[in-house]
Amino acid sequence: MTTFDLAQAPLRELNQRLHNAPQGHWSIVHPDGRHCIAAGVDAPIDIEIEGHVGYYCGGMNKQARISINGSAGPGVAENMMSGTIRVKGNVSHCAGASGHGGLLIVEGDASARCGISMKGSDIVVAGSIGHLSAFMAQSGRLVVCGDAGDFLGDSIYEAIIYVGGSVSSLGADCVEKEMTAEHLKSLAELLSASGVKADPGRFRRYGSARKLYNFNIDHASDY
């Protein structure tokens, strides 16, 4: 286990060492809300961050398994390609923005725009999420055990949203859809993979009505 103290050495040194490390187990202490911690890692390494982080923690992550034992600022796990990022606390806005793969787990709540522009990644939030989540979400799966804020899935493409609690309101072209056996299975697998306990049976599924896929004047007011 390698320990790195961000109160003693600069972020640049930490990230460079993480980029050069093909394997290993790291503990990062005194993050103190710093930005871009563990951004751009591309190796199957384990990273534990002891405390709260600022913006873009684990940005563009590939392969690494990152655990944030605290809360995260805006854009945690943005553009993630693979690997896992787990946040024990809450996450700020734009969590999991534009992710292509991998799994983001939030044990607390997420604020606005969770999963915005997602492109194939999976996000599981044990708590609730804020407004405009899954905005323009293209593909991937977003699971919310708690409630979802206003305009969920606004302008959504093919991403799938599962919500266990209530939805304040739906965004343009986002509708409730049937939960089939296949979806229940997919949801159960995600919950299991993320270690979040919830009963798949109480979730509802949301997705695109596909009315905005080609312009139709009768839907002009949705724009």
Binding site: G33, G73, N90, H93
Partner: protein, 299 residues
């Protein structure tokens, strides 16, 4: 293009540490606001017969002692003056409108930064770290404070364009974001008698709040109406004599983090400012929801 911070002490025993906490928070906002800094500190409430102003003198050689003498003669009352870098806290038993008129005619080189019983506002060009040093921010004691660091758009970074903007007695506002209808709003407010020093959008927000308060709205009502009348992106922190309030616009793209423990409530644009505070490990950390007024104290 800014950083904002706010700290409100629930535990009065920490009042002596207010300045140290404020300085630590402000320093963390240096990168997002490198051009100028400003603070509003609530401390040293004056006797009800008096009014307290913070005055800014651009001239480094300004003779504050002469001001004291001239004022004492004009108002038949001895003013107290506490000098801090380019500013002075000036309190006197005199009616505010008369005082303002007198200052405007006799001391055109001075700018009134704030007026009230408790508030003091200090703003200057330069980096936040320079500001903290020049104004000995860590030495302040008081009940609560707001701070702002600015990334300026216009080339002439001036003190006038810096925040906090004072909106009325013991009232101030700091803003992170960009309003889009402030020009029309400024004209409307000017027709209603509100005066502006700059073309800054944040000053319009401050003027708008003052206008609403003058018409009898509570601070919460004024901020709720702001949601309808102001267009654009904003996180506002507003200071009052006894507390402070926070408001984000409905889209809420500009950041805001809040934290609270038994001793204090804090807000900042980035968590790393809050990370500096004592007892942060025990604090509840959350993000204010959009279009929702949060307030503490009797704000």
């Amino acid at each position: 293009m800014c950083g904002i911070v706010g700290i409100y002490l629930k535990n009065k025993e920490l009042n002596n540490d207010l300045g140290a906490m404020l300085a630590a928070m402000l320093a963390q906002m240096s990168e997002r606001g490198p051009d100028s800094a400003g603070i509003a500190v609530y401390r040293n409430t004056v006797d009800p017969s008096k009014i307290k102003l913070t005055l800014f003198g651009a001239d480094a050689e300004y003779d504050w002692n002469q001001l004291r003498l001239r004022c004492a003669r004009a108002f038949k009352a001895e003013p107290d003056i506490e000098i801090r870098a380019s500013h002075a806290v000036f309190s006197i038993a005199a009616p505010l409108p008369d005082l303002k008129n007198w200052l405007n005619s006799h001391e055109p080189g001075l700018r009134i930064m704030s007026a009230g019983s408790t508030i003091e506002i200090y703003k200057e060009k330069g980096t936040p770290l320079e500001f903290i040093k020049r104004f000995h921010v860590q030495d302040f004691h008081g009940s609560h404070a707001l701070g702002h660091t600015r990334m300026a758009t216009e080339s002439a970074v001036t003190t006038e364009h810096s925040h906090p903007f004072s909106t009325g007695l013991d009232l101030c506002l700091v803003h992170n974001g960009s309003l889009s209808n402030h020009n029309q709003l400024r004209e409307r407010l000017q027709r209603n008698g509100i005066e502006f020093q700059t073309d800054n959008d944040s000053e319009v927000a401050a003027g708008y709040l003052m206008w609403q308060l003058q018409r009898g709205a509570s601070l919460e009502e004024a901020l709720t109406r702001a949601l309808k009348d102001l267009d654009g992106f904003y996180t506002f922190a507003v200071g009052t004599r006894t507390g402070f309030a926070v408001l984000r616009d409905p889209i809420a793209c500009k950041p805001a983090v809040m934290a609270e423990n038994d001793d204090w409530v804090a807000m900042a644009s980035e968590f790393r400012a809050i990370a500096q505070l004592p007892g942060v490990e025990k604090a509840r950390v959350w993000e204010p929801a959009p279009a929702t007024v949060y307030s503490w104290g009797d704000a």
